[in-house]
């Protein structure tokens, strides 16, 4: 039923004069638009006309900000008044690898201050690579009475005291997910801070805290939170303790075990088996920090419905992995350490035909003399058995062009292809040629490719291939590669969907940098470190494109004309006002 008269809602709406051609009253339009979930679709919706822009902004509940400096909290809250969930990403990705000095920025606090005023009903905060202090966590706990879900990934600046504040004061908390952060574990009793009356927890992940927690408090917490679906404990939790937790929470869907290597009595062993047997809903398993072979078999009954196995901290060997994978026919995602070797990967190819994602992490990335993990033959073996593979992260010490070509022929649906040959600039170890043809094969065969990380000895040819074929590429990571400016130019000219480009230690200079002048405003960011770009080159970019922030991080005493680390990103917020002294905004 079309209603021609516009119903004026209460004063929260701006006056909005409806065209006679527009048939929906605001409420209906908002209602309809609230069902549009995808970020891209919402963005498109907001561009249709002013009315739709307004309806969209009023109905928006979640917002994702890929670069916290691209916008200010004031601008955000002005546009979107009803946000319940915020996802924020801060530092450039290479900060994960120590390429960004400490105290660079991305402090969550100024955001929280504005949110406390404008989004008092905020429920969810997901942060990645942000700087978060205990003071901020306390502020969060006090300011948002409806707060439900906190997720911190790769953040730093806080300690377990901050967690204690969240546990104490967030009465409606459903999710506490603390992953891979630089957290100061003070060994306090933060877990005990959840009040006795607190029962709403659904997700608890403290796998990456190092110190012991109060097990008694944990056991009671798990016992009274009947909706708990995800529990990932840290390595201080023994097998015996794990058994007691499982008995209280057989409904778990995601489990992160603690250390898996205690000496158990026969009885304890069978109790543990029984506990796992009762976990019929498990679809995700992780942990196993130190896995004792003899106890892995207790997992087998719980493996039938497993879709995600995260053994990225469990240095299993090929035999242990094979024996386990026999029981995991429904596996979609697998993360392992390269101690499983090629033989383990063969087992993957044999037993897990539905696999879509594989990540192989190095056990000894810095130790050259030690045995060499996985090779090209393991890669091929997986691709032969797992034709649906579309995401791979593969750390290895040797690779060949032919092998990669075979892999992508077997699996043409790759959307994410991240290959890390661990010695920089290493050629095809059989032919001694550059790895250009490998990545050429990837971009030619995998038309859906969105993310690519290259490695090994690479000339400009690799980038010619990328520019010519990778038409859906959004993220590209480059290290120790390329021969001249031409390489980077190929990518900038050829990849229409490029959003993130991060380059280190490659011979690209000002000419290459300038080629992207027409493009950087359509991208999230560009990172270039230890390349050939100069301060003057950066100044030129800053001058030509005032809507970009051009930031340079230079070490003390470095060559003043060289720009060692350059971070360029689009922003409506203008230059940073909180930049530390070592960040120069040009």
């Amino acid at each position: 039923m079309m209603c021609k008269s516009k119903k004026k809602k209460d004063s929260k709406h701006e006056t909005n004069f409806m065209n006679s051609s527009s048939a929906f009253p605001d409420e209906v339009l908002e209602r309809v638009l609230s069902m549009v979930k995808s970020r891209k679709d919402r963005s498109s919706v907001s561009l249709v006309c002013k009315e739709w822009y307004n309806a969209e902004r009023w109905s928006r509940k979640n917002v994702f900000i890929g670069n916290c400096y691209s916008v200010t909290p004031e601008i955000l809250t002005r546009r979107f008044p009803n946000i319940r969930s915020v996802t924020l990403k801060g530092k450039p990705r290479f900060s994960d690898f120590n390429l960004v000095p400490a105290n660079w920025g991305a402090d969550i606090h100024p955001w929280l201050v504005v949110f406390a005023e404008k989004y008092p009903f905020l429920e969810e905060l997901k942060l990645k690579r942000m700087f978060v202090t205990d003071e901020s966590l306390e502020f969060l706990a006090f300011s948002f009475p409806n707060f439900k879900a906190l997720s911190l990934l790769s953040c730093d600046g806080f300690s377990t005291d901050g967690l204690a504040a969240v546990a104490t004061y967030c009465k409606n908390l459903t999710e506490l997910d603390i992953q891979e952060n630089g957290i100061d574990d003070k060994n306090g009793n933060w877990l005990s801070c959840f009040p006795e009356s607190f029962t709403s927890l659904e997700v608890l992940n403290f796998a990456n805290l190092n110190n012991d927690v109060n097990f008694d408090a944990l056991e009671k917490l798990v016992g009274r939170c009947k909706s708990l679906k995800t529990l990932k404990v840290n390595k201080s939790i023994t097998l015996e303790q794990l058994q007691r937790l499982l008995v209280r929470a057989p409904q778990l869907c995601e489990l992160g075990t603690g250390s898996f290597s205690q000496e158990l009595t026969c009885q304890q062993h069978s109790e543990l088996k029984r506990a796992f047997n009762n976990c019929k809903s498990l679809h995700t398993l992780s942990g196993l920090w130190v896995a004792s072979t003899q106890y892995l078999e207790v997992l087998y009954p719980a493996c039938t419905n497993l879709t995600f196995l995260n053994f990225s901290y469990a240095p299993l060997d090929s035999e242990d992995l094979s024996k386990l994978l026999v029981h995991c026919p429904n596996l979609r995602r697998l993360w392992v350490v390269d101690t499983v070797e090629d033989k383990g990967l063969e087992a993957v190819g044999t037993y897990c035909p539905l696999l879509e994602e594989l990540r192989v992490f190095p056990a000894d990335p810095f130790d050259e003399g030690v045995a060499h993990g996985v090779t090209e033959s393991g890669f091929i073996a997986v691709s032969e058995g797992c034709r649906k593979l579309h995401y791979v992260l593969y750390f290895c010490r040797q690779m060949t062009n032919a092998a990669v070509a075979t892999v992508v022929q077997n699996c043409p649906d790759f959307t994410h292809f991240r290959l890390c040959i661990m010695t920089p600039g290493q050629p095809d170890y059989l032919t001694d040629e550059p790895m250009d043809e490998a990545f050429g094969a990837v971009v030619k065969n995998c038309t859906k490719l969105q993310r690519l990380a290259v490695s090994g000895s690479l000339t400009d040819l690799t980038f010619e291939y990328i520019g010519r074929h990778a038409k859906n590429l959004e993220t590209l990571s480059v290290a120790f590669a390329g021969s001249s400016d031409w390489g980077m130019q190929c990518v900038l000219y050829g990849c229409p969907k490029l959003r993130k480009l991060e380059i280190r230690d490659s011979p690209f200079g000002n000419a290459a940098l300038f080629s992207g002048l027409g493009k950087y405003e359509s991208m999230r960011s560009l990172w270039m470190s230890d390349c050939k770009v100069t301060m003057n080159g950066c100044r030129f970019v800053a001058q030509e494109r005032p809507r970009l922030n051009v930031e340079v991080i230079n070490e003390e005493g470095g060559d003043d004309s060289r720009a060692e680390r350059v971070y360029i990103y689009r922003s409506v917020a203008g230059p940073r006002r909180d930049a530390p002294p070592f960040v120069l905004t040009l």
Partner: protein
């Protein structure tokens, strides 16, 4: 371009040094052969320190390529975790004479000598044979030895398991004639 890093302070630079010599050969220090003559239960063993061939180039071998900041691209969390695992586990390197790569194992996960030896056999695809107190390992070309806290090379199995686990610094599977140390 300043690429050296500080994060490897915790790593034993020597252990991680890329060398040209085969594992199992003596390291760069020009140590002479030593006989273990301490009064103890230790089985006297002749250390073979002078493997020929690549030895001389060993000393001159350039240090490993400069450690590069942030490479390989592993998240700090994982890197710290690996280093802590090193510290808290009982990781020892295992070399096999003639094999190009070392292995690393965590002694904590084995219940005793039997499991350890089986694991070594699987790892290197060889047979080690049976241990006897008087005669060492009979029936195979290989003899598992280890360096203990005092720097002495011992035969695996000579001491009780618990003592072994706490005193073993690294393992070396000796091959052929060198294995007959007594």
């Amino acid at each position: 371009m300043e690429n050296s890093v500080a994060y490897d302070k915790d790593l034993n630079m020597k252990d991680t040094e890329l060398r040209l010599g085969l594992p199992g050969t003596e390291k760069n220090e020009k140590e002479e052969t030593t006989l273990s003559v301490k009064v103890s239960n230790k089985r006297p063993m002749i250390e073979s320190s002078k493997d020929n061939g690549s030895k001389t180039s060993d000393e001159e071998a350039p240090p490993s390529k400069a450690k590069i900041v942030g490479w390989p691209p592993i998240r700090s969390y994982r890197k710290n975790s690996l280093q802590e695992a090193e510290a808290s586990g009982i990781y020892v390197k295992v070399s096999l004479d003639g094999a190009p790569y070392l292995r690393k194992i965590d002694l904590r996960i084995y219940g005793g000598y039997a499991q350890l030896l089986k694991a070594l056999e699987n790892m290197f695809k060889l047979t080690i044979g049976d241990y006897s107190e008087k005669e060492g390992y009979k029936g195979s070309d290989y003899e598992p030895t280890y360096e203990d806290k005092d720097g002495d090379w011992m035969l695996v199995g000579d001491v009780p398991w618990d003592m072994f686990v706490t005193s073993c610094k690294r393992l070396r599977i000796m091959k052929g004639s060198e294995a007959r140390g007594v």
